[in-house]
């Protein structure tokens, strides 16, 4: 909100205070000052009024004129000028040599295309008065004396502060309220506000009123006032009023509208003036009816329905309540009688109406922040004063009201010691009383402590805790000491998932991968790539800002591919990347589940040339990495199995899906779909892996491992090779070997280990078959196993394997 320093000074004596000082004080009250700008003419003693006595075309430049200008010092000055909007005899501002313009430009006697110029005639913009008409600022109409310093024609320059007011402080959306805050902080007193129009409301209109009724029987508008003012002369506002509006960026319209705006700036209470001739019979605040239409002052045409509230006459809606007036009933040059509205509307409803209409106005902004009900009548009276004074209005009687103020002053019981206890500091009752009284609150002793009366302009202060905030704003937060030392609470532990995040991050960084961080919001095409078109639809946002941020991500892999691609493009020599973050996966029933995902990606062959070729990154390494990550997350490697991956993200037949018997992990790894990675400018294969864990799978209680004794006797090892059809998976054969070897050991001794150490596909084998060789290790807990036992066990394994369809033991 823009605040004129001068206007604020009408309510509190700021003569000893600079705008800069004020902008240091206000933030510590909770009113952030975002900027200070100057408004009006800065002091420039060498800018004076001059009269153009003659001018002719510049001999060498068509666009320039050479003028003879009288600035009242007895000589005619020659000034070269580029503007066109003047005639002989016009009076204009002239900056004499020695002037520094607001832009920092210094005026000197100089030559412009060979012709001497002894000063500069100025435009509005050059003087820092804002953008005026094109060309020079013409002062002729004001008839200023030649030689008058321009500052004499303009008032004192002002400072305009841009203040950000938090939503709870509706009372600060007017100068009166802001002044109250400034006065409290600076130890000043608020100047009295004098209003001539007498107080008092009438319950029903008189014969002289311009309306027959005022109705508002609803919770939206519990309190409405309207006043008739006759024989109003609509015309321009005086300079001081125009200045006050322009200083804060409001456009003067006519004296009636300007007065309502000015009073709103003063008191924070929005007002509305109707042309009484356009109001049929009376005024009613009611819900709009379906099908009704209203064209607002800004030309916007609204189709209304019953969820909006309007101010209507007997026939039609006139105003979108609390937001903006209609064009039909507004004050115009021909208006003679007006009806002045001042009312209180329910804040949340105004917010809803304004948002629905897509409009935010100075009025709706204030109503949504709960205007002071006690200010409704006051604002009406202050505006009446000005309408009489500046527009010759005649009052016919008191304002007519319906309903009553919805809120009054509030009494809060503040227990003794409450403020000190919340602050954790030795604060006395006198400190509390002094601070609250500065804010205009009344503090009285009561049985349990104090009774604090909070005026109705502070709708946000209703509870003892609110008084603590009020106290601390005035007392000063820097007076609160730093508190007691704190000991940790025994038994508290970080969530498992956060511990996992930390561990997996250092594990992958240690393995040579660099951590990335990508946006959660992705485009539709990427989501379709990762989960397919049907599931991608389930991940769309309701109100995305842009098309490339329309979905929540289902995988971290595309982000990593993007990072590889971008880093290749800038020759940053990427190796591997990884990311840990949340992804969203549609489930079979259509619901979406959040997973904590870990993904990595790296080129199979290093991108940097070297005399020594490093081992390629491949799917076997990626699988191992995924298993290690799953293990960190509490998913034992034995629970994890891999099958062929069939997804658009992965290269067919060169990628594997990871699944977990315990259903707490899923994932995939392998070659990322090659056409896609190539299209991203990545030449060779990219090997990636991703494993995802639902949040619920992280159990916060950590299992403490229990020691198990192990054998001190040597193991025995036997090899067995089996020829199987090519299509048979290694894990199927391995499982069979494990089962058989375990069964062969029985309860007597233990199977310790089975390892596939050779895969052979070459000549000497029947067509369409492959040979897998396994190493089996058994061990006895209490003695060394004999050859005889071991061979018997191996025989059992062989017998079991030979039962496999098409399986042959390789001799």
């Amino acid at each position: 909100m823009k605040v004129s320093f001068q206007a604020l000074g009408r309510h509190v004596d700021l003569s000893g205070v600079t705008p800069e000082k004020l902008s240091e004080v206000l933030p510590m009250l909770g009113l952030e000052v975002e900027s200070i700008q100057s408004f009006g003419l800065a002091p420039m003693p060498r800018v004076v009024v001059g009269e153009i006595q003659a001018f002719e075309k510049h001999p060498q430049a068509d666009r320039l004129s050479v003028c003879k200008v009288d600035v009242g010092d007895g000589t005619l000055r020659q000034i070269v000028c580029g503007a066109k909007n003047f005639k002989t005899g016009d009076r204009v501002p002239v900056a004499l040599p020695g002037t520094t313009m607001p832009s920092g430009f210094e005026i000197k006697v100089s030559k412009l295309r060979e012709v001497e110029s002894q000063g500069m005639m100025c435009s509005s913009e050059e003087l820092g008065l804002g953008k005026g008409e094109d060309g020079l600022l013409i002062l002729t109409a004001q008839k200023p004396a030649i030689g008058t310093p321009l500052n004499k024609l303009y008032g004192k320059p002002d400072s305009v502060l841009e203040i950000s007011v938090t939503p709870n402080r509706g009372d600060c959306l007017g100068y009166r309220g802001l002044a109250r805050e400034a006065a409290a902080a600076l130890g000043l007193t608020l100047k009295p506000l004098t209003v001539k129009t007498v107080a008092g409301l009438s319950a029903s209109p008189s014969a002289k009123d311009a309306f027959k009724f005022v109705r508002s029987e609803n919770s939206f508008c519990p309190y409405y006032t309207a006043r008739t003012l006759r024989n109003v002369k609509v015309g321009p506002s005086p300079d001081w009023l125009r200045r006050d509006l322009e200083a804060v960026g409001l456009r003067p319209i006519n004296n009636v509208v300007d007065i309502t705006n000015w009073v709103m700036l003063e008191l924070g209470q929005p007002l509305h003036a109707f042309d009484a001739a356009k109001v049929k019979e009376g005024i009613e605040v009611r819900a709009a009816k379906a099908g009704e239409e209203l064209t607002l002052l800004d030309g916007k045409k609204l189709s209304l329905d019953s969820t909006s509230w309007v101010i209507a006459d007997a026939q039609r809606p006139l105003v979108l309540a609390g937001v903006m007036g209609g064009v039909d009933s507004g004050v115009s040059a021909t208006t003679t009688d007006i009806i002045l509205e001042s009312a209180w509307f329910t804040p949340g409803e105004v917010r809803r109406i304004a948002r629905r209409a897509g409009i935010s106005t100075d009025s709706s902004y204030r109503f949504t922040r709960d205007v002071d009900p006690a200010g409704v009548e006051l604002a009406s009276r202050l505006a009446t004063d000005l309408l009489i004074e500046l527009a010759g209005a005649e009052v016919v009687g008191p304002a007519v009201s319906t309903g009553k103020p919805p809120r009054a002053d509030v009494k809060i019981e503040l227990p003794a010691g409450f403020v000190a206890a919340k602050c954790g500091a030795p604060i006395t009752d006198a400190d509390v009383t002094a601070a609250l009284e500065k804010l205009g609150f009344t503090v009285e002793k009561s049985k349990a402590g104090f009774t604090v009366t909070v005026p109705s302009f502070r709708s946000d202060v209703t509870r003892p805790i609110d008084l603590v905030e009020e106290f601390i704003r005035i007392y000063g937060t820097n007076q609160i000491p730093a508190g007691r030392p704190i000991a940790p609470l025994p038994g508290d532990e970080d969530t498992r998932s956060s511990i996992f995040t930390r561990e997996v991050t250092s594990r992958l960084a240690g393995a040579g991968f660099t951590e990335c961080c990508h946006y959660t919001l992705r485009d539709a095409a990427e989501c379709e790539l990762t989960v397919g078109a049907d599931h991608a639809k389930l991940l769309a946002l309701e109100n995305p800002l842009t098309a490339d941020q329309s979905h929540v991500r289902a995988s971290l892999v595309p982000g990593l591919i993007g990072a590889l691609s971008r880093n290749v493009a800038v020759n940053a020599d990427p190796r591997g990347f990884f990311e840990v973050g949340v992804v969203f996966r549609p489930q079979a029933d259509g619901a979406v589940r959040e997973f904590l995902s870990v993904a990595f990606a790296a080129p199979a062959e290093a991108l940097v040339r070297s005399w020594k070729v490093p081992a390629a990154f491949d799917i076997i390494k990626a699988k191992r990495l995924l298993q290690d990550i799953a293990q960190l997350a509490g998913v034992a490697a034995t629970r994890v199995s891999f099958t062929d991956a069939k997804s658009a993200l992965w290269q067919l037949e060169h990628a594997a899906n990871l699944s977990d018997r315990g259903r707490s992990a899923e994932g995939a790894c392998g070659v990322v779909e090659l056409r896609w990675t190539r299209s991203m400018g990545l030449k060779g294969s990219i090997i990636a892996g991703e494993v995802m864990f639902p949040r619920s799978s992280f159990v916060d209680v950590q299992r403490i491992p229990r020691f198990e004794a192990f054998s001190s006797f040597p193991p025995v090892t036997r090899d067995v090779a089996v020829i199987v059809p090519v299509a048979t998976s290694a894990s199927e054969v391995l499982t069979r070997v494990q089962q058989a070897a375990s069964k062969a050991a029985g309860k007597e001794f233990d199977l310790e280990y089975v390892n596939c150490f050779d895969v052979f596909n070459g000549p000497g084998l029947p067509e369409g078959s492959k040979s897998l060789a396994f190493e089996i290790r058994w061990r006895h807990n209490e003695r060394t196993l004999t050859d005889e036992e071991t061979n018997r066990a191996l025989g059992t394994v062989i017998a079991a394997l030979e039962k496999g369809a098409g399986w042959v033991i390789r001799k």
Binding site: G30, G348, R351, K422, G483, I486, T495, E515, R566, V592
Partner: protein, 346 residues
């Protein structure tokens, strides 16, 4: 005899020079100490000597034998050296580097997050988490920000469609699901699920419907703090924040609490930081985080009695802190993942 033995040793010495591998060495060994070897023959000759000569010659033979053993041992070492040398190949150039992958870099946001979490851990805060897609109730209503509250205008929210169902944040009735606008929603989940006293910090990703530029990001990270106990005060708040700032920005850094407004804290403050060590941002007040005492209304909405319990809460922007600490001028660097950026924070 003496001369004969000296000759024998000298010959062995000379011959050993031309032996280069194990086979040659075996042959050479046989020629000297084998059953028909020269030294063996000399030893056999002992039998023909007189009793008096034997000790003298015996001594000479022992000396010769010792010399031959030394020759053989030296020869073995020489051959082993040659074998190891050829097995290992070209000698090492200790200055040569290959193209091995070095350890990766941890993202500056992760580093900053861990540093901050560690700081709060020292004060007994432990980590809590919550879902990124939240119900409106957890994100707003329970934080004392009902639907028609003007504070909802303070942030532009990304919504999920009415048909969206979240396993992790089930809707109640007709309420909307949102991408959480702050980690304050984790306050609510913690208040509902845990019994005080507790102190938690909740790191996480948040979302606003903001156009991306140097200071705005479609998603960003916050760390939320919450301490609930029987009597938590403003002095506690100041103590915790003071500790955090000094740990993060050094002992020269100072803080001020500037009154502000959040629906879920009362009183509410913005915490400003001033430090001489922040480059061109040195020695001015910088807004760092929002904080305050938990509003009694929030405690009530979560089923706690505000007469019995009170609390403090704070929320800081991870990107903001990382940018200040490292002098980073554009938030987009964090999400571009250019290695030339990432490797600066290793």
């Amino acid at each position: 005899m003496q001369q004969q033995l000296a000759q024998l040793v000298a010959t062995a010495q000379a011959e050993s020079k031309s032996v280069t591998n194990r086979a040659e060495m075996e042959a050479f060994k046989a020629r000297v100490v084998g059953p028909n070897g020269s030294l063996t023959a000399a030893m056999k000759g002992m039998a023909t000597l007189s009793k008096e000569e034997r000790p003298i010659v015996g001594k000479l033979i022992n000396e010769a034998k010792k010399s031959v053993e030394e020759i053989l041992a030296a020869l073995l070492t020489k051959i082993e050296d040659a074998e190891i040398g050829s097995a290992l190949g070209t000698p090492l150039d200790p200055t040569l580097t290959g193209n091995e992958t070095p350890a990766g870099f941890i993202h500056p946001l992760s580093r900053t997050r861990e540093k901050i979490l560690n700081t709060f851990k020292k004060l007994g805060f432990t980590i809590a988490e919550g879902p990124e897609i939240e119900t409106e109730w957890h994100c707003f209503d329970a934080l004392n920000t009902p639907a028609d509250h003007p504070a909802r205008d303070m942030q532009d929210t990304l919504y999920l469609p009415k048909t969206f169902r979240s396993v992790d944040a089930p809707r109640r009735g007709e309420e909307a699901l949102v991408l959480r606008t702050h980690t304050s929603s984790v306050q609510i989940r913690t208040l509902l699920n845990r019994k005080p006293p507790f102190r938690i910090v909740a790191p996480g990703r948040c979302f606003r419907r903001d156009a991306v530029d140097a200071t705005h990001s479609a998603n960003f990270h916050q760390i939320e703090g919450l301490w609930i106990d029987h009597q938590v005060t403003l002095a506690d708040l100041r103590g915790v924040l003071d500790f955090f700032v000094k740990e993060t920005f050094g002992a020269d850094a100072e803080i001020r609490l500037r009154p502000s407004y959040f629906p879920f804290t009362e009183p509410s403050f913005e915490m400003d930081l001033r430090s001489p060590n922040l480059g061109r941002l040195s020695n001015r007040w910088l807004e760092i985080m929002g904080c305050g005492l938990v509003d009694p209304k929030v405690l009530e909405l979560c089923g706690l009695d505000p007469k019995e319990y009170s609390g403090l809460a704070f929320g800081l922007g991870l990107e903001r802190i990382a940018m200040l600490v490292h002098g980073i001028d554009d938030i987009r660097h964090f999400y571009n993942n250019d290695l030339r950026f990432l490797r600066q924070f290793a």
